[in-house]
Each structure stands twice: as C-alpha cells, then as structure tokens.
Amino acid sequence: MRDKILESVIYILLIFLLCGFFNVQIIHGPEYRRMSEDNRIRTIPISAPRGRIFDRFDRVLADNKSIFNLYIIPDDFNIESVPQLAAILGEDESKLNEVIEKSKHSFDPTSPALIKKDISRTAMFRLEELSTLVGGLVITQDSLRYYPEGEALCHIIGYIGKIDPEEYAAHKHQGWLFNDSIGRLGIEKTYNEELMGNPGGRQIEVNAKGQQLRILSEKDAEIGSDVHLTIDAELQIRIINLIAPEHSISTCILNIHSGEILALVSTPLFDPNIFVDPNKSDDRVEALKDERHPFINRPISFSYAPGSIFKVLIAVAALQEGVIHSNTVLHCSGAFRLNDRSREFKCWRESGHGDMTLVDAISESCNVFFYQVGLKLGNARIARYARMFGFGEPINIGLPYGKSGLVPDALWKKAILNERWYAGETVNYAIGQGYLLVTPLQVVKMVAAIAADGKVVEPHIVKGMPYVENRVPITHQNLAIVRRCMLMAIESEWGTGHLARPTFFKMAGKTGTAQTTGEPHSWYTGFFPYNDPQIAIVVMGEHAGSGGVVAASYAGQIADEWLALKEEREQTGV
C-alpha cells in the first residue's frame, strides 16, 4: 500500500517537473530564444582590491589607488566608433584598432576586454557620455596596487602581475577573473590567497545595439585581508641609505628574543610600482634586463661560501665536543701541511700568528688554528653542528624562494659525487670554504642562537606566524666563551672587525672574506649590544672584498642606526 503511495508521489513530482520544462520551453520559449539569439545578458566583473600590507608600526607598505578602466564588449562594439574613442583617449587610431581587433578573437567575445587602464577623469566623463550613443563601452572603477615606499621594501613586499591563461583556467572556479593579478614575489606571492578579495560584478541586459537597458543584478567586490609585518620600515630605509650604490649587499636585522625580522635588505633594488603602473612599463623592461639581477632577494635566495664567519660554528662545536678548551694553545707558522707530501694550506698572515688560544684565533681570524681544530672534529661532526644550527635547510620566514644552502660531509659526497672525502677538504671546511654554502639568513639565525644563550626562535617576517622556540644542546659556559671571542674580534687591538665598532655600547661579531672566483665576498655577522643582546646582524657584500673592511663598517653603522632610532622613539614616546 505504502509503496503505491510512494510511486504515485514520484510520478506527481515528475509531472510537476515536466510542467516546469513546459513553462520554460513552450510558454516562455520564444522569449528565451530571443535572449539566446541576441545574447542579451552581459556580465561585467569588478576586481576586488587586494588587502593592504603594513609594517610593525602600521605604516602602509602596499596600498590601493582607485582608478577608472575602459573595457569594451567586442560583440557589442561597432568598429566605426574607433575614431571617436581614439580622440577621447588621445590614442593612435590604428593602434587602438589593433587592440580591439585582437579582443574580438578572445575566447568569449561577450565578456569585457580591457582596452585602457587608468583613464583620466575627463576622459571618463566623456566616455560615459559616448556610451549612451555607442554600445559595448564599459567603464569600471577598479583599484590599482600602489607601493608608497617604492624601492625600499621591494624584495619583502614583492610585486604582482597579471595571471596567464593557464592560471586563469586552473583557478576560475575560485572566482579568479580573467584580468586578475596575483603575487609574483615576496609577501604578495606567499600571502596571495589572503590578500586577494572576492570579486564583484554586475549582470546587465543590453539592447540590440549593445547599450545597457537595465542592471539585472549587482554584487560588490570584497577587499582582501590585510597582512602585518614584523619589519621596521624606518630602520629598513635608513639602512638602505647607508649602502653605496655599487655594492650588492644582503643584510638582515633579527630580534634575537622574538625571532622577528626588523630589516631585510637586498641591493640592488627595484621599484615594485613598475609592475602595476601602466605609465611605467618602460622602466619594467629596463629592470628586467639589468644584469645585477635586482629581483633576487639575496639574503634568502642566494647561498654563498661563508668563509671565516664559519669559524664561530667550529668554535662552538670544538668546545662542546671537548676537542679543545678555552685555554688550548695551537701554533700557527703561517702555513699548514697534512703530511710531508701534502699541499700547503696557508694562513692569511704569511709570517704566522705564533702560539694561539681560541680567543686569539677568532679575533685575529687565524686559519691554521682552525685547520687543526677542524681535523680534530672531522667532517661528520662539523656537518652535524652546522645542521643543528639550521644550515642546509630553507628557513620559512614567510617569503618565497628560500634557498637551503649545502652542508657537505663524507656521506653526501659519496651519494652525490660518488667520491671519497679527503682530509684536505675537512681543513678547508673548518674555515668555511669548499662545498659549504649558506644563506645570510641562516648565518644571522646561528648568531642569534649564540647571542640568546642557545635559544633558537624561528625567524619570521609576518606577525601572527607561529612562534617556534627550540634550544641547541650547547652548554651556557661554551656559548659564553664564544661570545667573548666574538667581542674580542671587534674590541681587541688586533681584532679583524674593529671597523664594526659602534659609537655607543659594544658589539660582538666575526668577519669573513670568502674566496670565490673574482673578488672575495665580504661577510660580517654579530650581535648587539654585547652586555644585553637585542639584535643579531648579518651583512654580506657580493664580491665586495675584505669582510673586515666593507661588511664590518656597514654593520657598525647599522648598529648605530638601530640604537639611534630606538632612542628617538623612546624620547618621542612612540
């Protein structure tokens, strides 16, 4: 019985559905047929403004400007109106013709195609007027990305670019529009999904001439979420002003207690506005051709031989493993041989340093001392300590394209190069040469851990990224010895880093001059102030010469700037 009722209900519902089709196809059929033939409905998407990006003091680093754009709907636009359009826009007629002709062959000639971005207010009013006579013209109020600080934060903020057809096809279902832009570098790239809002749009019915009859429905665009950075834009700008234009410098200032990156500079710089401002496309071509690769964010995306700054890590490892003590004396005669037949490994000082303890060896950057310590440690232990401090793996600070660098050992060499490891390579390893590659960010992370007495906070550049804290298994006593050695490298009479001495307070650090093809790389890393460490600094100058000269003097000035800014803010009560 009940199954009969169920069956009847099913048939009744099917008949109801069929009536619906009868209504749509037979009763309203002609109406829909006309709509389909004329194709009267147009959808005009309105892109959403991207969320803004702020520095740690809420200074705006990426903003939006409101602009007017001109679109045409190719199917509705009569080519005979081109002269009028060209006159208003002040464009060449044949060039405009070309653009419009191209749009007619787009995949959907009933959806708007961009003709001109950022039209002037007067042009906008005249076009509005023209659109009452000519069909197929659409003027939308869109937003244009704008970077108020220009070059200063280019590698951090990154830039945006128009999506290509493949990306459009892949993300259409998420609501991406054909004319949308997405982040290509920096925060704009890593936080693209958060920054992108939800597009709006309106659906209009047009008449046979393509003129708007009425708006069928409308939806406002929703702005994307804001992103707040840990960066101190003022400090960043002041650091940039210190750097000589001929240098390619990477530098990073890290708060050792919070892991917050306060400044992250990579020179040469570029102006991210060239990617969004329609009037700056020539500059873009110029920048893309620049052989100094301004678009690479050097502190995280390039890895280099660290040279003598790696001695800091060797010192930590050697003390912790007990292969030396703080008062162990090793002799430097200016050169070192593994055995009678081996080649000579030289110290930078040909006459030799004589008898040295660890503190002398760090402050005067003696190679022969560390050759011997390195051999005592062996490649496996050096690699283990390097990895313990985060070398050999990328650091996710919230920016794209982080490099991992390379921490070699015998196992690696066997697996990758299928060769055995030679003792001579361990000798080189100990002074940061050979296969070893590190990024400036990894270096500053290591120094921060030493300065914070073994506490390792993951560096990050976006507020709200998880705070991750670990410890390196090194005794406080050993870390204190190494910090003392680093102090002497700056403060002692013979110290290689005396150019890094700040005006007030004391800095501890280490210089490095990494041999490579061409001029050596200039390294400096340290922490400041020595008595109450707050920040860790790394400065790396590509092919800039001696670390004790270029990098060290920048580091001293950077420490001065940081302190000066801090005091200015304390006085003004910010």
Binding site: L18, F21, Q25, Y32, G201, R202, Q203, L216, S217, E218
Partner: protein, 363 residues
C-alpha cells in the same frame, strides 16, 4: 513461468538503463564538443565507464543482493573509514576534498557511501519487527544516517549529504513507521536547521541564498541558473538540433558536462527530448516498483525503496536545478552526468534492484 517473467524483466531493465546511458552520451559529446583538446574524449571515456558499469551490473545481479546485505555492516564501516580518509588525505578538486587516489584511479567515497548506507539500513530495519520498540529503531536508523551525512558535509558536498535524509524517510515510510514519528522528525529537523547552517561553507550558503534570491550573485550560482534557463528555453519544442546549441558552447553554462548536462538536452533536443527522457525515467521507476511488489523479503523491499528514492531524488534535484526549481547543489544526473564513481554507484544499485526481483524465484 517465473523464469520467463524474470528474463523479460531483466531484459527490459537492461534495455532501459542502456537506453538512458547511451542517449546521454550523445549530449555529453555535444557538451564537450568545444572543449578544445578534450573534444570527444569525455564521451569516449564515459562510454568505457558505461561498458564497465554494465559488466558490474551483470555481476551484481548474478551475485544477488543477499550477499551484499550480509556484509552490509562491514561495507558501512569501510565507507566511514574511507570518508574519514578523504578528509585527511583526499585530493582537492574544484575547491572540495572528495577524491581518493588508489594508484592511477581516483574515486569519490561519498558516492559509494549512499549505497552503503542504504544497504546497512535495509539490513538493520529488515530484520526487525516494526511493531516493537519503534522509537528505538527510528533513532538508531537516524544515527546510522547522520554519521556519514556529517562526514560528507565536511568535504564539503552539500548535495550528496542532504540526499541521505529523503532516502531514509522513504525507507522508514515503506518499512511501516508510524506517521506521528514522521511529524516529530519534521519538527526536530526544522529546529536543527540553525545548527546545520553553521556547518555550511560560505559558498554553500551563497548558493542557497542565490536560490532564494537569484539576483544576489550575478557571477556565481544564479548566473549559471539564468544561463541554463536561457539555454533550455531557447530549445523550444524541437530543440536546436544535435551539436547546434549555442548557449552551452560559449561557456555560458559552466560545468555543463557534469551537473548541467540536462540544459544541453533541453537546448539541443527541445521539449520533445525532455519528454522522452521523462518517459524512460517513468519506465525505470515502474520496473523498479515491480521488484518491490514481487519480493517477500522485507530487507529486499527496503533496499529497493532506498535505491528508488536515491535515483529519484538525484533526478529530481539535478533536473530541477537546471530550470531554477531546485538550488544548485552539484548532484549528478544518474547514468548521464560525467563521472565514474557516480555511474558505478548507480549500476551497482540497479544490479541490486534486478536481483531483488530474481531472488523470489528461490522460494
């Protein structure tokens, strides 16, 4: 006597589902006609799937529904595990996490979960008298349905999750549940709506809003429905002819080869084709109800009811959505929409239906 009548039934059923599936292929080919590289490939792939599906159908008939009922609880638990696995390891497509990969094959456990739930419910209710402890049966049956429902809803797949409810209600109704319990259920269901609302994703809410107010979202769901209505309406009585549709070719109707295939039917085949499809559906239901009437096994009867309800609500919601009578939920059209998991589920279901008719001859 009974042997011949089964043979006739078997053949009729086979021809009806084959007819629906093959005719669907024509429109699927047309729908994918303009997708550049995919041209023809979708229809070809669907044909292979239908061939596989028919073999599965024949296999299920010869195994018989009783074996499936015997392992129904196992199937039910396995399905729950698969649904959880989808949420944990599943692959995202079109913004939802519904697919699991096994080697080169991907499938949607949510599709199979429908038949697993129907089997488990039939097994549970079929072995229990309706006169005793009816409230308890009612509640347990509901819990058995709600658990997979919530898991599917989390994927998120609103359409598939909501279809569980009418299936359960139909099965309880045919089982013989008291009408006052149905009333109570409806009251309970309405009062739990705010809770369900919180579980919905923003885009699912948007779709429901768009159904209530089509002008709300011109770029999303209601845009699709308006374009689908124009496509169907413009087909008129005789249609524009095969491959002659314009609306569906110019990307006006998105997802037309999966969910909106019926708007291609309406546009190119016209009202006359719609009527033919409806006649085929009516034939399918008539044959299915014959299985219900013939069997003396309560579990078999309930199983047939569940399957009929599942098939019917898929048809009703999918087709209703193309002319704006139902919200856009993404439910496939049985035997016609492009998609392997859904096809296989329906072929298994039809195999079970036919075997319910057959098993009678044992007595």
């Amino acid at each position: 006597m009974s042997q011949t009548s089964f043979t006739r039934f078997y053949w009729s059923f086979f021809l009806v589902i084959l007819g629906i599936a093959l005719w669907g292929i024509f429109f699927l080919y047309s729908a994918s006609y303009n997708i550049g590289s995919e041209q023809g490939m979708l229809a070809l792939r669907q044909m292979v799937r239908i061939a596989v599906g028919l073999m599965v159908f024949l296999g299920v008939v010869s195994i018989g529904y009783k074996s499936f009922l015997n392992i129904s609880y196992v199937l039910y638990v396995v399905t729950l595990i698969l649904l959880i696995m989808v949420l944990v390891f599943g692959t995202r497509r079109y913004g939802a996490q519904r697919w699991l990969y096994v080697g080169p094959f991907s499938f949607q456990p949510s599709e199979f979960s429908k038949i697993a739930v129907i089997l488990a419910l039939s097994h549970y209710l079929g072995r229990r008298k309706k006169n005793l402890y009816q409230i308890r049966r009612f509640i347990i049956a509901f819990i058995m349905t709600i658990v997979p429902l919530v898991l599917v809803l989390k994927e998120p797949d609103l359409g598939t999750s909501l279809i569980f409810i009418p299936i359960l209600l139909c099965m309880l109704y045919v089982w013989g549940a008291k009408l006052k319990y149905f009333l109570m259920t409806i009251v309970l269901g309405l009062s739990s709506l705010p809770f369900l609302w919180m579980l919905l994703k923003p885009y699912q809410k948007d779709r429901l809003f768009a159904f209530i107010d089509p002008n709300r979202d011109p770029l999303g769901a209601s845009y699709t429905v308006i374009q689908s209505k124009i496509a169907i309406g413009s087909g008129g009585f005789l249609g524009k002819g095969w491959l002659q549709g314009t609306q569906n070719k110019l990307y006006f109707v998105p997802e037309h080869h999966t969910d909106f295939i019926f708007s291609v039917v309406g546009e190119e085949g016209g009202f006359i084709s719609i009527v033919v499809f409806f006649l085929l559906f009516v034939l399918l239901f008539r044959l299915s109800f014959m299985a219900i009437r013939r069997t003396t096994d309560v579990s078999g009867k309930l199983l047939a009811t569940g399957i009929i309800a599942m098939v019917f609500f898929h048809i009703f919601i999918n087709i209703g959505m193309t002319i704006g009578l139902m919200p856009v939920t993404g439910l496939p059209l049985p035997l016609i929409s492009y998609g392997g998991s859904s096809l296989l589920t329906f072929f298994i279901s039809f195999g079970l239906l036919v075997s319910i008719f057959k098993e009678r001859s044992i007595f």
